[in-house]
């Protein structure tokens, strides 16, 4: 086992010299994750040792120039195999710490991982976030085995998350991608994925690395690209997902812009595919599903509703350029309601809102960035409404509630297709 820090001259053969016939690659993108990455590295090493002892494996830390000693933590992280009752590996194991280049962001870090995977001709890869607190060695097994032993190309994660964790996923990305591509992948932007070496090479062949894909858009891009291009997909139940906030300083509207913008861009790329899909179907799920207790998440409802009201008040003239009158009337009415208890953004109105944002971007009515960033107050309104509605609900009840939202998106697909075709 050895750490290695190559120079910053890109990913070349020198960095992977001496590595041949590698079966498994696990990538960890990082940027100032010194607090948590040590645990992630140890969990990965334990997982590789426990479940793939005879396979040659590489751990790649693709770092964005951390200044908090993240890379040192990765190099120094060591595992006491005896304490976890594991024998030493028979296959080789190497750690590579590599700075990535290009636009700063998770997508650029993943690109480096894909390049090394292609260079080493690995059979199966996994990527896991560096901010994870709940990762266990079993995650490695669950993300890699479906690829190595079951012939799947892409393994999406399936976690237990707090009902208010992943609100962009729950209110927009999951229901929309499910309605579009017909696959019920519960965490399409989960952040931790398994994929085949073939799929890694396929990703590298795409010219997207100067777009939002290089940032927060990478997760939805990987999932959608795999689904839309007919790769064999499954999901793996990984248990609880407990992690640090992605980037506490990150602006919500920028995050929303990158993720939702990537979903919308992919709709342009794969319009011929999603327009033919009707309904949705479950995907194969591996892992033993169980429920876990999760830390409560404090929510500032007042602030979210205030931002929604302010957004509707100030941006109404702008919304008028692409939202229909009935939605505008509803938004004005909702923003004017003094009773917080009566604050409700119904699914039907939310789905129509999203569809008209999609269409506005598709028709290039006004600046795409302005359209996407103006979604933020409405998104906060929907989240506030969802929180009010599900305050007393259990995780199972919330899942059922989200199922209703997904159905609403699926039911409105014809409405979207009709208008999309009309403006194509």
């Amino acid at each position: 086992m050895s750490g290695k820090t190559p120079d910053a001259a890109g990913i070349g053969r020198a960095k992977t010299a001496g590595l041949k016939n590698v079966d498994i690659l696990v990538g960890i993108p990082s940027f100032n994750n010194a607090r948590t990455i040590g645990h992630v590295v140890r969990a990965v090493e334990a997982g590789l040792t426990k479940y793939f002892p005879g396979r040659r494996a590489v751990l790649v830390n693709s770092d964005g120039g951390s200044s908090d000693g993240t890379t040192d933590v990765v190099r120094d992280a060591s595992l006491d195999l005896d304490s976890i009752l594991l024998d030493h590996r028979k296959g080789g194991f190497r750690k590579l710490v590599i700075p990535y280049h290009g636009i700063p962001g998770k997508g650029s870090a993943f690109r480096t991982v894909f390049e090394i995977a292609r260079e080493l001709e690995v059979k199966a890869c996994a990527v896991v976030d560096a901010d994870l607190r709940s990762i266990t060695p079993e995650w490695v097994e669950l993300l890699i085995k479906p690829v190595l032993e079951e012939g799947y190309d892409y393994v999406a994660p399936y976690y237990m998350r707090h009902k208010y964790d992943g609100t962009i996923t729950n209110t927009i990305v999951y229901p929309l991608t499910r309605a579009l591509y017909g696959k019920r992948i519960r965490q399409p932007i989960g952040g931790d994925f398994g994929f085949s070496g073939e799929l890694a090479s396929f990703y590298l062949g795409k010219d997207v690395w100067a777009s939002d894909v290089a940032r927060f858009g990478i997760d939805i891009w990987m999932t959608t690209t795999a689904v839309a291009n007919g790769f064999k997909i499954c999901q793996a139940f990984l248990g609880a997902k407990i992690h640090d906030a992605k980037d506490p300083a990150a602006d919500l509207s920028a995050m929303l812009h990158q993720v939702v913008g990537s979903v919308f861009d992919l709709m342009e790329d794969y319009a011929d595919i999603w327009r033919t899909v009707r309904d949705s179907e479950p995907v194969a799920t591996f892992g033993f599903v169980y429920s876990v207790g999760l830390e409560p998440i404090p929510v500032n409802l007042e602030k979210m509703i205030e931002k929604f009201q302010m957004g509707v008040r100030e941006l109404a003239p702008f919304y008028r350029s692409f939202l229909p009158d009935d939605i505008l009337a509803f938004l004005n009415d909702l923003a004017a309601r003094p009773d917080r208890g009566a604050f409700s953004y119904p699914d039907a109105a939310w789905v129509r809102t999203i569809i008209h944002f999609v269409l506005a971007c598709h028709r290039k009515l006004v600046s795409r960035e302005h359209i996407l960033k103006s979604l933020t107050p409405l998104y906060l309104g929907k989240v506030a409404s969802f929180v009010i509605e599900t305050w007393e609900s259990t995780a199972e009840e919330v899942e059922r509630r989200l199922e209703d939202l997904c159905r609403s998106f699926e039911n409105e697909k014809d409405y979207l297709i009709e208008r999309w075709n009309g403006s194509a």
Binding site: Y164, D165, G166, T167, I168, T169, I189, G191, F216, H243, A245, K246, P248, D251, L252, S253, M255, L256, V259, I297, P298, V299, N300, K303, M304, E306, K307, M310, G311, E314, L315, P317, F318, S321, F322, L365, V366, S367, E369, H370, K373, S374, T376, P377, V383
Partner: protein, 235 residues
């Protein structure tokens, strides 16, 4: 007596008549050119309006706020009609100048020459104003969305201020290009702009020192959650 009448009345009248008969063909040509111009202008107007409708530019004008701005200025025409009318008068004007030039009058020729030399300035000024208008709208809207997302109470005034500043800047540049009150306009602009910046600096300095302190503390001090009690993880 006859010689006297011939000298002060008949002779000048004859000269006028001679000049008029010498000028008449030019005048007639001028009138024909102008009439042809009016007909052509009418055709150009129809064509321009048709093209604007085919390209659905009316909708684009509505989205960019041009239609709303025109309505505020009590202009009842749609932008398509307005542009069509502008082209109409432009063609009429060009033919009017052509008509004047075929009349070969030295004074008019001189005026025309000066005017033609000045025309590029008008064109550049119009382009500057148009760019200023679109840029002002774009930046104003960008500021509005960003400040709404940041939860700033003064989002509306801030956006209007930015849009106004860009438009003011465009007007100053346009006037400078036209050479109208060059030094006065620049001085007025500097006074207004400098005054606004000074007022803002004083307002922030005196009225917002606590806000500034709190902002800087939040920005540079190590702290936990930035927003009171909100721990949502959106991704």
């Amino acid at each position: 007596m006859k010689a006297f009448i011939d000298k002060i009345l008949i002779q000048p009248l004859r000269e006028v008549f001679q000049k008029l008969s010498a000028f008449a063909p030019s005048l007639l040509t001028g009138i024909v050119v102008l009439a042809a111009g009016v007909v052509l202008a009418w055709l150009v107007k129809l064509l321009v309006v048709r093209i604007i409708r085919i390209l659905k530019l009316d909708a684009a004008f509505a989205r960019s706020g041009v239609t709303e701005a025109l309505q505020k200025m009590a202009v009842k025409d749609t932008p398509a009609k307005l542009v069509g009318r502008m082209f109409y008068w432009l063609v009429v004007f060009i033919f009017f100048i052509l008509a004047l030039s075929v009349m070969r009058m030295p004074v008019i020729d001189e005026l025309l020459e000066k005017f033609l030399l000045y025309l590029p300035n008008i064109f550049v000024a119009l382009v500057v104003l148009a760019i200023g208008w679109f840029l002002g709208n774009f930046l104003g809207r960008a500021a509005l969305i960003a400040s709404v997302n940041a939860g700033m109470k003064a989002a509306g005034p801030l956006s209007k201020g930015i849009k106004g500043a860009v438009l003011l800047f465009a007007f100053v540049m346009a006037f400078e290009q036209l050479g109208i009150g060059r030094s006065t306009v620049i001085a007025a602009f500097a006074i207004v702009f400098g005054g606004a910046v000074l007022a803002l600096a004083l307002a922030f300095g005196l009225g917002g020192k606590d806000l500034a302190r709190s902002f800087l503390e939040k920005r540079f001090k190590k702290s936990g959650e930035s927003d009171r009690g909100d721990g949502l993880k959106h991704l």
